[in-house]
């Protein structure tokens, strides 16, 4: 009982930190003395995880479509070149699974493109190195960003072994269609880091991550700690690999090969 309450308060606090950027939540947090209430429709887990079926989702075109959905939902600016910002993107096998290469892989595997994103590692080095807790791990396993806390030191980018993070080198709003913004999610300011957040803001209101929803069943999403969850069933049945297992980060994104 007590435990429950404590974890509720903790969750609420973290939700406030994570969603504090949403103006409505902000107003609620500052206006009244009552803590922010969780949306009853919200879905929760002990450790959210994703299984990407690369037999179904494997062309640059399809992955870019999902990326577009993700980037639109989160107001991710489109910038060309090495200062780009991206949350979800396609890449080839050789770049995605650098330690699991061999020269005689089946054509099917090497021809595919793989959807890459933040792995929401169970043991995330980006959280370990962040000097301000701007990057933090939520109780549901999601590694989230507090854009207002971030000082832009980019230590997390050096720490992430997967190249999953982007930095706003310039003003991101210059690269957004300001008339087509998603008002439900904040835009960022320059000088802060960002990355995929497993759509925490959608989970909180009972929706699945945008890319999962748009994937036509090629991406499974669920609670890794629940033996009865759909993704555990998938993981039991299909052979999966994760990126860079040697880094010891325990990625929560699995790939069906």
């Amino acid at each position: 009982m007590k435990n429950n309450r404590r974890s509720f308060i903790k969750l609420a606090g973290i939700a406030a930190a994570g969603l504090g950027i949403a103006p409505r939540a902000m107003a609620a947090a500052m206006g009244g003395s009552a803590p922010i209430k969780d949306d009853p429709k919200g879905i929760t887990a002990k450790q959210w995880a994703m299984v990407i079926d690369t037999t179904k989702l494997n062309t640059a075109k399809d992955i870019e479509k999902l990326a577009k959905v993700c980037h639109t939902v989160h107001n991710v600016p489109s910038i060309e070149g090495k200062q780009e910002v991206k949350w979800l993107w396609p890449d080839i096998y050789e770049h995605s699974f650098t330690e699991q290469e061999n020269p005689h892989l089946p054509d099917a595997v090497t021809r595919r493109q793989y959807a890459l994103l933040c792995n929401h590692c169970e043991n995330p080095p980006c959280v370990r190195v962040c000097p301000t807790k701007a990057t933090y791990k939520r109780p549901d396993g999601i590694v989230d960003m507090d854009y207002h806390r971030c000082i832009g030191c980019r230590y997390c980018m050096a720490g992430c072994p997967y190249g999953s993070r982007s930095f706003n080198w310039g003003e991101p709003r210059d690269h957004l269609d300001l008339d087509a913004l998603n008002k439900e999610y904040p835009t960022r300011m320059r000088g802060v880091v960002e990355k995929c957040n497993f759509c925490v803001e959608r989970l909180a209101v009972g929706k699945l991550p945008a890319c999962v929803e748009a994937s036509n069943g090629a991406i499974h999403f669920g609670d890794l700690n629940d033996p009865n969850s759909e993704i555990r069933a998938v993981l039991r049945e299909r052979f999966t690999i994760r990126r860079k297992p040697s880094a010891g980060t325990e990625p929560s994104v699995y790939y069906i090969i």
Partner: protein
């Protein structure tokens, strides 16, 4: 004592004005960065730290190196160094200030800088780096200033200062160790993920730092009456020699580990730096220049004839500084980010604006050094310590040559 810094020759004011102009020009570029963000730099998603952080890393070595003068003096009672101690400490102050400034110019949201303290996060090495750097700055300010003030009043150094001095000696090792830990603990960055990195940092600091200090002191000698005791110089040069040998030895350990083990992750950064990878050879020339210059400087340092040649010494030191700077100020950082996590190469080169901002920081450092060294040399002059004699020796050398003998390094001064 600060008033000493206000009186000076035309040349002194000219130099200060020159530095202020440099600072002014650089701060324009910084203003541009503040307004437009770090997009004015050559950094990007793959190489997310650049020239600023590498200069910071290199200068931490300079800050730490002061201990190579302080330590023999206090731990071994090695007194020929005693008139150099204050300069080591003052150099450390300037280096710490430059380090902190390089961090400030590197972060994306400098106004939130205090979050590192307000939301202290001890699991982040950056937090500890901030502590050790500021601590070292404070210690050196305290020790340097109090000692110099006591000297000036012709009083013995106060007893209560001793614990601070000893702490600062140990602290000097910590600042470079912690800075190495900043890099060392990152999975997936193979060039940094090595237990010997902190040791490499210290070795390179203890050769490059004193070398820079000696060079700056030689310039100081040109403009003041201060003269380094010959014995102190040759001791320091020996320290530099050993540290440089150890530095290159450690480097060769890395090469051995990588290539004998044949581990791809460990080999690739070295291959990129020294041979090129995926058709990218941006750094190959520079890295071999580093090896070449390191070899030359070691040859000059280990050969007594060359080492004791005071005419050659500035060149030797200059070569060493360039070599270590390429290694630690450039190769270390770029080799850490390349190959990227995707096994690709993203070349990095600082932009002109990035260099201008860096120039600003260096000019501020030079300004601090100028002012502090001015004060220190004037006090030494007042006291008649370590002053140049007409024959070219220092008063501390106990030389027996006559003013007319015009002896240079072949002079027959009997060494104390």
């Amino acid at each position: 004592m600060l008033e000493i810094a206000l009186k000076g020759s035309k040349r002194y004011y000219g130099w200060i004005a020159f530095l202020l102009v440099l600072i002014g020009i650089g701060s324009m570029a910084w203003l541009d960065q503040l307004i437009n963000g770090l997009k004015i730099t050559g950094m990007g998603r793959d190489v997310s730290w650049g020239f600023y952080i590498s200069q910071f890393t290199y200068l931490v070595g300079l800050a730490a190196s002061g201990v190579m003068i302080v330590l023999p003096n206090y731990f071994h009672g090695y007194k020929p160094n005693k008139h150099m101690v204050i300069f080591g400490e003052f150099m450390a102050i300037a280096a710490c200030i430059m380090c902190l400034l390089f961090i400030v110019v590197d972060i994306g949201q400098p106004t939130r800088m205090l979050n590192v303290i307000l939301h202290a996060t001890p699991n982040s090495i950056l937090f500890w780096d901030m502590i050790v750097l500021n601590g070292y700055l404070g210690l050196n300010l305290l020790v340097g200033w109090v000692c110099l003030q006591a000297d000036r009043a012709r009083l013995p150094h106060p007893k209560w200062l001793k614990p601070f001095i000893y702490t600062s000696i140990i602290w000097a090792f910590s600042i470079h160790t912690v800075t190495a830990f900043l890099y060392q603990g990152l999975p997936g960055r193979h060039y940094w993920l090595t237990a010997i990195l902190a040791a490499r940092f210290l070795a390179s600091a203890f050769c490059s730092g004193p070398a820079i200090l000696l060079l700056v002191m030689m310039i100081t000698e040109k403009f003041t009456t201060f003269k380094m005791p010959k014995k102190a110089v040759s001791t320091l040069v020996k320290i530099i020699m050993y540290a440089m040998c150890v530095n290159m030895f450690f480097f060769s350990l890395e090469v051995f580990t990588a290539f004998y083990s044949n581990m791809p992750g460990h080999m690739h950064p070295l291959v990129y730096l020294f041979a090129g990878y995926h058709g990218h050879t941006e750094l190959v020339g520079l890295m071999w220049t580093f090896i070449g210059l390191a070899a030359v400087s070691i040859t000059l340092l280990v050969t007594p004839k060359f080492r004791n040649n005071f005419k050659l010494l500035p060149w030797t030191l200059g070569i060493l500084v360039i070599a270590t700077w390429i290694d630690k100020g450039l190769g270390l950082l770029i080799g850490g980010f390349n190959p990227t996590p995707f096994h690709t190469i993203t070349p990095y080169w600082p932009t002109a604006k990035e260099l201008l901002v860096s120039m600003m920081v260096y000019a501020i450092g030079a300004l601090v050094v100028t002012i502090l060294f001015k004060i220190a040399t004037e006090v030494k002059e007042e006291l008649g310590q370590a002053q140049a004699m007409p024959c070219g020796c220092s008063t501390e050398d106990e030389c027996d040559c006559t003013p007319e003998c015009g002896c240079t390094d072949q002079c027959t001064c009997k060494e104390a």
